[in-house]
């Protein structure tokens, strides 16, 4: 396969991976205050996404595989709020282990990664059209 066409496909897989990451970030941000309903119940647990390289035999190149969604095993934050339906016997509510600053950093990373892949596609397109221009006079 033409390397330039392959480049476009590989960059597309990278863009999909970064969109997946953004999706997970948005889940975390949206659920940053999602607590349980019953006393002492667990709140939303932060999700993480990991990617793996996959060999695409048709392309003969490594692309980014489907992201694997896992969970962040860290401790939940405790806040004192006895009136909350999820408050335990001592009046503490478990809050999600989501840190919006970290999510913001992740989001920025996803955005930068996406832009990088878009730039790769732009470059591949420019190169192939420059080559075709040789035929025109």
């Amino acid at each position: 396969m033409d390397p330039i066409d392959a480049t476009m496909k590989i960059a597309t897989s990278g863009m999909k991976a970064q969109s997946m990451r953004l999706r997970v970030v948005s889940e975390n941000v949206a659920n940053a205050a999602s607590t349980g309903n019953a006393p002492g119940a667990d709140p939303y647990r932060r999700k993480t996404v990991t990617f793996q390289n996959v060999l695409d035999r048709k392309l003969g190149a490594e692309v980014v595989g489907r992201g694997k969604i896992g969970t962040d095993k860290s401790e939940f934050r405790l806040t004192y709020d006895p009136s909350h339906p999820a408050a335990d016997g001592r009046g503490y509510v478990k809050m999600p282990n989501v840190n919006t600053v970290i999510e913001m950093a992740d989001m920025r990373e996803a955005s930068r990664g996406y832009e990088a892949n878009v730039t790769v596609i732009e470059q591949a397109k420019a190169m192939s059209s420059r080559t075709l221009d040789l035929l025109r006079d």
Binding site: M1, D2, D5, M8, K9, T12, M15, K16, S19, I121, K125, S128, S129, L132, L135, R136
Partner: protein, 105 residues
């Protein structure tokens, strides 16, 4: 006479057709061989058309939300690329052909 002089250009077509097929992912035909000018072009054009159809299909799928944005853009770009390649090569070959026709006899 014109048949003889056109032969080198005609011989270049099969490789073009092959590369076009590679882009569109259509089934590979083994060696066009000594096909005529017109036949070779017809083949190249039909391949380009199928690639463009693929792009259109992807576009529709994207509008219906069955396909991701990136996939649609990728398919459309591939179709565009194929079409441009075919058109550029066609222009070139037709130019050469006309050059031969304009030859003073």
């Amino acid at each position: 006479m014109s048949d003889l002089s056109v032969a080198p250009i005609g011989a270049a077509i099969p490789s073009i057709v092959d590369s076009v097929e590679g882009v569109s992912g259509a089934a590979a035909t083994s060696g066009v061989g000594k096909s005529s000018f017109g036949e070779a072009f017809e083949k190249a054009m039909s391949n380009a058309v199928s690639s463009v159809r693929g792009g259109e299909k992807a576009m529709l799928a994207g509008l219906e939300g069955r396909l991701g944005n990136q996939e649609v853009v990728n398919a459309v770009l591939a179709a565009e690329n194929t079409l441009q390649t075919v058109v550029a090569i066609r222009d070139r070959a037709v130019n050469a052909y006309q050059e031969i026709l304009r030859m003073p006899i």
